[in-house]
């Protein structure tokens, strides 16, 4: 059989292959030749064959049949054989193969070989692929070699020790004594690998870390680093004018680990860090690499503030550099430090904002994240402008994140409501389809709460969807607003902007086209239908048209739409008298914030906010519709002063302490500006709009009672029960004054036993005029799930005849129909 070709030939041949298939053919032919050669047990050419096999393995072809051959090569005495054998072992073998254990003995012998190169080979291989058993067996040998004076071997032994520690952490202590002298070497190779070894030990075990701190490692490292910087030109270590930057970086990293959370070490290294930061040349990338590592170290240890400012200034300088890499690195580190050193980073805000316009994707992403972190109350207007511009021009993968970020920032720092709404509108129109789903209810809540902007908002939204109604979130918000505030739109009153003339028909046109359009999602259609329905109370001349639209969708294929349409139809036909009340304006919603409870417990456990009735906010958008007592569930006004208190000082009666859940919030007895009663989550709220079982409120003829009658003050209770939720009782109190002087500052408070829940809504006023000429009405909702007998303790405070009066009473004469 002819001598197998040399590796060079093989490579040349493979290079000539022009297609993948050709290459594969050549390689397979060669593999076959190699395999037959192995079978012949030919010693002379084994090494050549294995070399070829390794090359083919690197190209990606299977080469496992060569593993055993590698072992044979390792066992041979020739150095060239050993060399290829070990290389093959490193590449082809790992602890998954059983064969590797056979190597252990070979390696052991070679570790004690007379030639250092052989020893070196063995160390390399062990350090590369040694399994835990092998490491355990051979750790002693490695440790011995760590103490030798031969620097060639010492550095390899150090790296091997790193691998051993990674595989078998318990053996770490064994290497500890050897490390004592490691740093006394002059040879940079040994220094470098020793630093790696020390780093590994410190990272793995806090005990080691403490030990090294005690033993004075930091001063040693500082000394070495100083020598490196101060020493003159040394040709063997020089890289672009800096002496051994790789070692410098390694030492800085080890210093970082040592100085973290440790004041003494941090203090010891302050000077050297400052020195490195100021003396390193920044014209080349090498210098910048060292500076980068220095900055990371300064940020991580407990450095003094002067040093930190220095570090941030370095990063700022990086940002101005032309090289992309450096800017990227600077942005990344600034992102890490912005939490802790916010003010310092603010100084570089303009540069960061410029980076938003960079061409590179990674840089843009970093700059965007950093910009969001830097937004605060002072700079929000300017930043928003930049960010909105960025949103316009950025790639789609950024848009969702950017939009959410803008919403968050706007929410936190909006200088005015109008600005806030403008910003949101801008985001919706530019990146409408990328906005996240939960943004829609948040926006709606925001719009509801900015009462004075309703007209402006609805006008702008109307104009926005007039041209284009493909962006779903925008259309959803717009249809909701048009439904709510359509009357404002048509009446053309708007202070902020030029009012536009819109007729009712035009509004209905746009909503209908949303309904019909193919681009609208099912959810959007639901919004539109409900909006049309709501307009039936707001608009005057187009009610018939609305009726027609609604009845068409009664036979829609979409179940959701169909249900809504059928219910709305029923509303037109059977419950027309309730329609206005049902479709009144939404109240100001309390924001469900994540920090801190601002809400009162939602009482009367409505799983369906059955009627989204509103007592209109007192700023009087709808002066005409006063509270419809019957269906007044949500008196969400900002003025409600009343929170019933728990009269905890009173000894409990047999019914246990009268505990009012609402009273939990306020035990001082003084009226607090009550957060409006919590309505369920906004999306939930909107669901309620749609899938509403009609609140069939039959005042089932429950007799009313006089709860209190003393000193001229009479309080009557009238009851209603809900058919849909039989554990809810709605009590309306009427307070009248038969004396000849008014009673002012009247406050009514109530408490119920623990098994009940109580919700007190705002009273109509706080003055009871004299001579029974007027009354104060207030609504109480009681949830009585266990159908226990209703009892209540009431407390009345008012001013009468110039003196403050206060009285407590218990009401026991509730009629059975009110709670059974």
């Amino acid at each position: 059989m002819p001598a197998p070709i040399r590796l060079r030939e093989l490579i040349r041949t493979i290079r000539t292959a022009r297609t993948q298939a050709e290459e594969r053919e050549m390689i397979q032919k060669e593999c076959a030749a190699i395999r037959s050669s192995f079978r012949e047990e030919d010693n002379t050419y084994r090494c050549r064959n294995v070399a070829k096999l390794l090359y083919m393995h690197m190209l990606g072809y299977p080469a496992h049949f060569g593993q055993l051959e590698c072992l044979k090569l390792i066992a041979s005495q020739k150095f060239t054989d050993k060399r290829i054998g070990y290389l093959g072992a490193m590449l082809l073998l790992d602890e998954r193969q059983d064969v590797h254990l056979l190597m252990t003995n070979c390696i052991k012998n070679d570790l004690n070989h007379s030639t250092q190169y052989v020893q070196g080979l063995a160390l390399c291989t062990l350090g590369c692929m040694g399994s835990s058993e092998m490491c355990r067996d051979l750790a002693g040998e490695v440790e011995k070699l760590l103490k030798t004076s031969n620097s060639y071997l010492r550095k390899k032994a150090a790296l091997c020790a790193v691998h051993v520690i990674r595989k078998v952490p318990e053996l770490m202590e064994m290497f500890l004594p050897a490390t004592k002298n490691l740093l006394n070497e002059k040879n940079h190779g040994v220094l470098h690998t020793s630093v790696v070894l020390l780093t590994e030990m410190c990272e793995r075990s806090p005990d080691m870390l403490a030990h090294f701190r005690k033993v004075g490692l930091v001063p040693q490292l500082v000394r070495i680093l100083k020598n490196l910087i101060m020493s003159g030109y040394s040709p063997e270590h020089d890289v672009s004018g800096i002496s051994d930057p790789f070692l410098q970086v390694r030492i800085l990293r080890l210093l970082r680990i040592l100085g973290r959370n440790d004041d003494d070490s941090s203090e010891a290294m302050n000077d050297i860090l400052a020195q490195v930061a100021t003396n390193t040349e920044t014209s080349k990338n090498v210098g910048n690499a060292i500076l980068y590592e220095t900055v990371l170290t300064i940020m991580d240890i407990k450095s003094e503030s002067g040093l930190r400012v220095l570090a941030i200034n370095i990063l700022g300088r990086f940002l101005l550099n032309n090289d992309k890499n450096i800017r990227y690195v600077a942005l990344t580190s600034l992102l890490k430090t912005v939490q802790t050193d916010h003010n310092a980073v603010q100084r570089h805000r303009s540069t960061i904002v410029d980076c938003l316009k960079d061409l590179d994707v990674s840089i843009k992403r970093r700059a965007m994240e950093l910009s969001f972190a830097l937004v605060n109350g002072n700079n929000v207007r300017g930043m928003m402008k930049e960010l909105l511009y960025f949103l316009d021009s950025c790639e789609p993968e950024f848009k969702a994140d950017c939009a959410s970020g803008i919403f968050l920032a706007a929410e936190k720092y909006a200088p005015s409501k109008r600005w806030h709404i403008d910003t949101i509108m801008r985001v919706l129109t530019t990146a409408g389809s990328y906005v996240r789903d939960d943004a829609v209810p948040n926006l709606i809540q925001l719009i509801t709460n900015s009462v004075e902007m309703h007209a402006y908002t609805v006008q702008r939204l109307y104009k926005a969807i007039l041209g284009d109604y493909s962006q779903q979130p925008l259309v959803q918000v717009a249809s909701w607003c048009i439904g709510e505030y359509g009357d404002l739109l048509v009446s053309g009153q708007c202070e902020e902007e030029e009012p536009i003339q819109v007729t009712e028909d035009e509004v209905l046109d746009i909503l209908e086209s949303v309904l019909i359009s193919n681009m609208s999602a099912s959810v959007t259609r639901g919004y539109a239908l409900t909006a049309i329905m709501k307009l039936s109370t707001r608009f005057t001349c187009t009610v018939n048209r609305i009726k027609k639209v609604v009845s068409i969708y009664g036979s829609s294929i979409d179940v959701e739409l169909q249900q809504r349409a059928v219910e709305y139809n029923a509303l037109f036909k059977k419950y027309d008298h309730m329609r206005p009340a049902l479709l009144e304006r939404m109240p100001v919603m309390e924001k469900v914030t994540t920090n801190g409870p601002t809400e009162i417990v939602q009482t009367n456990g409505e799983t369906e906010p059955a009627v989204l009735e509103t007592k209109p906010p007192p700023s009087g958008l709808q002066p005409a519709n006063q509270a419809n007592d019957l269906l007044d569930l949500l008196g969400g006004s900002d003025i409600t002063p009343v929170i019933p208190t728990a009269p905890t000082s009173k000894p409990a009666s047999a019914g246990g302490e009268l505990l009012d859940l609402l009273g939990d919030l306020n035990l001082t007895g003084s009226p607090v500006s009550a957060p409006a009663p919590q309505i369920a989550q906004p999306p939930f709220l909107l669901d309620g709009l749609t899938s509403q079982p009609l609140f069939n409120d039959i005042a089932a003829g429950i007799p009313s009672i006089t709860a209190y009658n003393k000193n001229g003050l009479k309080i009557d209770f009238t009851f209603e029960r809900s058919n849909t939720n039989p554990s809810v009782t709605v009590i309306t109190i009427q307070a009248s004054n038969s004396t000849e002087l008014d009673m002012t500052d009247f406050v009514f408070q109530a408490a119920v036993p623990k098994t009940f829940q109580l919700q007190l809504l705002s009273p109509s006023s706080s003055v009871i005029p004299a001579f029974n000429s007027g009354t104060i009405t207030q609504v109480i909702k009681v949830l009585n799930p266990q159908k226990q007998q209703l009892r209540m303790r009431i407390k009345l405070t008012y001013n009468h005849k110039g003196s403050a009066m206060q009285d407590l009473a218990e009401v026991n004469n509730f009629p059975p129909q009110s709670w059974q």
């Binding site: 990606g60 299977p62 590592e293 690195v329 061409l359 590179d360 990674s362």
Partner: protein, 98 residues
């Protein structure tokens, strides 16, 4: 920590590969193809650090050859960038015709 070290030419043929963590043989080719695709699509004035899956790629182009090093987040990217150049210089010195 350095995960892998690759030298790939512009056509996507691997010239040198060294993995410091075990990766299946068939996955290697896939990985190399994806990596080189990412690097080829970058223009000259974009930065040399790419975020790829859960590690970073540092690449450097020398004529028709790309040297790509995959590192994890504990490593100093710029130091690795320098390392690549150092490596090339060493090769140049040793083989005198790189």
């Amino acid at each position: 920590m350095i995960k892998f070290f690759l030298m790939v030419n512009k056509q996507g043929q691997t010239r040198l590969s060294r993995y410091y963590e075990h990766v299946e043989v068939n996955k290697r080719t896939m990985l190399e193809a994806e990596v080189i695709k990412n690097c080829l699509s970058r223009s000259k004035d974009q930065c040399s650090f790419i975020e790829y899956k859960d590690f970073k790629l540092v690449y450097r182009q020398y004529a028709a050859l790309f040297i790509v090093v995959g590192i994890d987040h504990t490593e100093n990217e710029m130091a690795v960038y320098e390392l690549i150049h150092n490596f090339v210089e060493v090769l140049d010195k040793y083989f005198s015709r790189v």
